[in-house]
């Protein structure tokens, strides 16, 4: 084992924590952007927005209930509606237990719903959960650099496998189709501060961060305790020569990656809805028909003409045809708009006629 003692004792445990924080921040940005998109489509798609609210409240309430269960406070009341959720404990516990329950409420929705996806992936036989130590940092694995590199490599491997799995999704496979639905539902619901019936300006990313900051500063002793436990976990892993510490944080990183991908997919869907709203007439329904139709036709085509990347190509065809139809519909609409003030005869030709007339005179 190489590396300076200060590096190993003080800085090394921080590396994966920083990594998780970075991904969590990216997740927050995506959530904020999603909220903006939802607000944009809200006037025309009130039920969809209510549904996303419900998912958000559901995840929040489940996380809160999980917090109470883990702290052995028990649950006396569990109520969920589209705009509001309430979880009450059986025993009001103070101190660290209350703090943990609140931490679950504020932080849980970022990570816990993604655990469902991990479980689903496991059931589908996904092979991307391997954690490795790169050979280059084998002797430096307990240093800051070694920890960061290992964390990064593990995250890269998972992301690579996960994206590979996504582009090879077989949407005619009930399991894969269910996975996509779950991923979309996850993406729609990851919102620690949900949008209520009406827009509330103070409920945004800053509001979430303020809540978390309050949680930290309210009882700094608990944060110190949490860090101490984390460091202790690192030292135990170090002494036993295990990589449990990095595995744990890699797992949190995977959850973040899944959430970010889910948010990205829902962004695409919300953007599609928003753009489709701008198309006037029945043409917009054509777009929703073209999505499944193009995929099924592509799959039928590749069923008879065998190709290596049939699944990913079918998905690609589906996305491409959707974009193409969207572009054509929007272009026609633009043309119609600009033609409003156009004369039937070209202005230039009119000018020529005018000139001809004056010449004659």
């Amino acid at each position: 084992m190489e590396g300076s003692p200060i590096d190993i004792v003080i800085f090394a445990p921080l590396a994966p924590i920083l990594g998780v924080l970075l991904f969590w921040f990216i997740q927050l940005l995506f959530i904020e952007s999603q909220k903006y998109l939802i607000e944009k489509i809200r006037p025309k798609h009130e039920p969809l927005c209510r549904f996303t609210n419900f998912l958000g409240v559901l995840y929040q309430s489940i996380c809160h209930a999980l917090g109470y269960t883990l702290t052995k406070s028990g649950i006396s009341d569990f109520y969920i509606s589209v705009n509001y959720g309430r979880v009450s404990p059986k025993k009001e516990k103070k101190g660290i237990f209350e703090w943990i329950s609140n931490a679950f409420l504020f932080m849980g929705p970022f990570f816990i719903p993604a655990v469902l996806i991990i479980l689903y992936l496991f059931l589908l036989g996904f092979k991307g959960f391997e954690t490795i130590i790169p050979a280059q940092v084998l002797y430096l694995k307990y240093t800051f650099g070694g920890q960061l590199t290992t964390y990064g490599v593990n995250l890269y491997n998972f992301t690579n496998n996960f994206l590979n799995f996504l582009v090879n999704l077989n949407l005619l496979h009930p399991g894969h189709f269910g996975f996509l639905l779950l991923l979309i539902f996850l993406g729609l619901g990851i919102r620690p501060s949900h949008i209520g019936e009406k827009k509330v300006d103070r409920v945004n990313m800053i509001y979430d961060l303020k809540n978390i900051w309050k949680l930290i500063t309210h009882k700094p002793i608990y944060i110190i305790l949490l860090f101490s436990v984390t460091y202790l976990f690192f030292y135990i892993s170090l002494l036993l020569g295990q990589i449990w510490y990095i595995i744990f944080f890699s797992f949190l990183g995977w959850l973040s990656i899944i959430s970010i991908v889910a948010l990205f997919i829902t962004h695409m869907i919300l953007y599609l809805i928003k753009t489709t709203d701008e198309i006037i007439g029945r043409k917009k329904y054509l777009l929703y028909i073209i999505i499944p139709l193009s995929y099924i036709l592509a799959r039928i085509f590749f069923h008879y003409i065998k190709a290596d990347f049939d699944l990913s190509t079918s998905l690609f065809i589906m996305i491409l045809s959707t974009i193409l139809v969207l572009y054509l519909s929007k272009r026609k609409k633009k043309e119609k708009k600009t033609q409003k003030f156009k004369t039937k005869i070209d202005i230039k030709s009119l000018e020529k006629i005018d000139e001809g007339e004056t010449d004659e005179r």
Partner: protein
Amino acid sequence: MKDEELLNNERREKILSPHPLSFMKFQFLCIFLLIWGIIVGWIVNFSEWQSGFVNNFFFALSFWGIGLLLAGIIASLSTVRWSIFILYLTVFLTGTLIIYWQGIQNSIGIFAPIYTIIASIIGFLLVEWYRRSHKYIITDQRLIFKGGIATKRERSLRYENVVEYDSESGVLGQIFGFGTIIPQTPSGVGMGSDSAMAAGGVALGEKKAKLFGLIGGEKEVQTPRTRTYYELHGVYPFKEVKQLLEKHKQGSAPTTHHKEQVAFQQQQIDIQKQMRALLKMQKEEKEELPTPPIKDKTTSEEE
């Protein structure tokens, strides 16, 4: 509703029908059939377990049937309605009969999924037909409920006969803005009962007699419930309709202020009656007494 069906001075305010998703409990049974049909079709024809079903009619039939019946049992137990199980059993038995009748045992992999999907589509259509048979009319004087596929039912309820409204809106209702409103009357229309039974078995001994004693208890709870024809089932927009009905009820029912006013008016009438009686008495007394001679006005002036 035709105008001639309206009463004198009656004004029609809203004609409603249940929201397309308000019969989700029935639609869900069809959704399950649809999903199960797709799953069976995929597993038997395209999955990695496909080979297990080739030339194995009974295995494929059992797989299809067990899935259907198991879902039927679970749904029946959770909703305490054996009709769901009977429905799935009917789908399974009818399918099996068709297979034997047509002798298409070798094509079960194609028939079973298609048949299940067709059954689900028929189910969807029936639910939709049932939904469309409902019509609720809100007028300024009463509520009219109409419905029925074969037998046409109609119920008219005046607002003064409504004791209270019970309303509910599930998750789907909250998302899509619909809900159910049950008007309750003093006669008990709009109330149903939920009964739960607990039973335990006791063996009385093997030697004497193999008897099986059953100890049971039943508990009944009165709950707002009625047929979908007699309630405003899954109406949209829920909040608006609820507000309108409450307004009408308030308009027809006497409030405390009204009651006070009526009591005051009653007091006034009583006082007036007493005064009239008093005046009458005075008049009668005057009539009994001899009347003094009245001086002639003209003669006195002359004097």
